[in-house]
Amino acid sequence: MTRMKKTHLLKTEEETRKLGGQLACAARPGDVIALVGDLGVGKTTLAKAIAAALGITEDVTSPTFTLLCQYETGRLPLYHFDVYRVHEEDELFEIGFQEYLNGEGLCVIEWADLVKALLPPETLWVHLTWDATGTERICTVE
């Protein structure tokens, strides 16, 4: 199956929410969504939108320090990772990362470009960048 690249322009938080909804609806058990982009560009906002669309009612907090926050109250279990603080991929393996990727939930991984080699080929890559004016976000999904 050839992978298609699709670009969205996200002007408002509402548009980010819509995109999160689309991603959540399409998600199947075992799927992996990789979020890539600079600090502040909105990776966590998009992750929260995905969580909300899955029906998760708990507060979705940032997993930068804990590496993982997991939520069981939605349509699918959600495993929300932030791997910014990980220096070596093997460290992640040792604390059970692989088991989540092989699991029955949806994995959403912020800063996923840092651990590319660990991710399955079917991973959906979502790149977020600022546009030229610095006010809007460009999102490409492949």
Binding site: E88, E89, D90, G96, E99, N102, A117
Partner: protein, 238 residues
């Protein structure tokens, strides 16, 4: 002298005691994937049932992998802790090889354990059982592409022997396995999965051959490429 054996690499945890005469006392947990909860209570119950104290234990054997990463870690951590506190050596038992030591497998069988390694790969090896407690390695353990492994197996299988496919990879890859050209059968009963009783027999061999280590140095075998190895491979490919 008794060896305590821990097996947590598959869905059911089991523990066993084996003595010098190869008598085995085994306990198997009937709940899938509750290794952390049940392992230490199982060991306690086993030692009580067998009337054994720490002084009676000569070594701690542990099934070292491949298999479930979490399971391997629970068994290994527990074994290393026991070995450190009781000051006993550790025997690292190769999980795939231990399948050949199931008492129900007759000598002359080419034992082929196949474990699901995901992403269309299997952890597999092949072991010719030549006596009740002896095997010869025919294919080394590795993470294989199923077709590649089976082609090699067909090449190495002898005319008069039957291949016995066992392990949790069998139901997952049964389509591919069913196309295997040589004579084979699928396992039924105890030899379908990892068991401490089988691992214990292999552990006794290793112990007698002096292949032991200690609490600090013992480590698991995941059969996955480490980051360092992957980077080296990428570098060489360029």
């Amino acid at each position: 002298m008794t060896i305590l054996t821990i097996e947590t690499t598959g869905p059911l945890a089991s523990v066993a005691l084996i003595d010098q005469d190869r008598n085995v006392l085994e306990r198997v947990n009937d709940t899938r994937y509750s290794h952390l909860e049940e392992l230490v209570p199982m060991i306690r119950a086993l030692m009580s049932e067998g009337g054994k104290d720490p002084e009676d234990i000569g070594a701690i054997a542990v099934s070292r992998g491949p298999g479930s990463f979490t399971g391997i870690r629970i068994g290994m951590t527990t074994a290393k802790a026991l070995a450190q506190v009781w000051e006993k050596p550790v025997i690292e038992v190769p999980t795939l090889k231990s399948f050949a030591y199931h008492p129900g497998i007759a000598p002359g069988t080419l034992t082929v354990p196949v474990l699901d390694a995901r992403r269309n790969q299997v952890y597999a090896g092949a072991y010719r059982k030549i006596a009740a407690y002896q095997d010869v390695e025919v294919i080394e353990e590795k993470a294989w592409a199923p077709d590649e492994f089976l082609a090699l197996l067909a090449d190495r299988q002898r005319a008069e022997e039957t291949v016995l496919f066992c392990g949790d990879g069998v139901p997952v890859y049964c389509d591919v396995l069913n196309r295997y050209p040589g004579p084979f059968r699928f396992s039924a009963g105890a030899e379908t999965v990892q068991r401490a009783g089988a691992a214990a027999q292999l552990a006794l061999n290793l112990y007698r051959d002096g292949i032991v280590t200690d609490a600090f140095r013992s480590e698991p075998v995941y059969l996955r490429q480490s980051e360092a190895e992957r980077k080296l491979q990428e570098k060489c490919a360029k």
